[in-house]
Symmetry: C2
Subunit: 109 residues, 2 copies
DNA sequence: CGATATACCTTGACAGACGAAGTATTATAT
DNA sequence: ATATAATACTTCGTCTGTCAAGGTATATCG
């Protein structure tokens, strides 16, 4: 077991931003989003389902995203999510904070 | 107020590593460590006391640091902390994980 | 038919962060 | 002299994001 396992706490607080970043590229649904995360990180990282769906709820509650049921004629039903204007603003802000946090930690570690 | 306030969750999980990193430079105590953090980040960041001291307890519990009371003849008493060999190993590991997390987030955000 | 992949949801527990409050000593300003 | 600030540590209770574990339902493939 040589691979590094990223503990949850290191990415804690970034879940929302990861989701917003994905939705900026276009509407999507949970399962697809997670596959995308896995793909982008070469299978290293993936959101836990409970984490993902509770984040969706939190974001919708905060009006940063909206959701609607897709009308699939085949396969399991999907709930699609769309980022709002407020969500885009929040994403920009979060991204800035990430850059700031990165800079801080590079100084401290 | 133009500065960005780094929310706790962005640095969550890094507290231990910040402390270990500081102790690698030499034995220290809570108050000094926090002043050092503040200095290194130009006053942008500082650990909350409750966070700091509970982290100390956690690290000592895990044998990553040891502590002893300083024999100050003047001023408030200080509890000094020293990093152990295991602590140094842990620091290296945490640092690696930070680099990995950074790389992941730069891909995802 | 059973297994696997797709797709979503809920509940309960845990751990780290932190606000708030307290204890003590020394230095500094009024 | 005395109030205030700075140094220095501690404990308690609460909050929040994460996640393990369980569940539901449909379609496909061997």
């Amino acid at each position: 077991m040589t691979s590094i396992s990223i503990t949850s706490d290191l990415l804690r607080g970034h879940t929302d931003t990861i989701i917003l970043a994905h939705l900026i590229e276009g509407n999507s649904y949970g399962y697809e989003l997670n596959k995308s995360v896995s793909l982008k990180t070469n299978g290293v990282y993936e959101l836990k389902e409970a984490t993902l769906y509770s984040a969706f709820r939190r974001l919708e509650e905060a009006s940063l995203i909206t959701s609607y049921w897709g009308n699939e004629e085949t396969g399991a039903r999907r709930r699609y999510y769309q980022i709002t204007e407020a969500g885009k603003e929040q994403y920009k802000q979060n991204k800035k904070e990430w850059e700031e946090a990165k800079s801080l930690l590079d100084k401290l570690l």
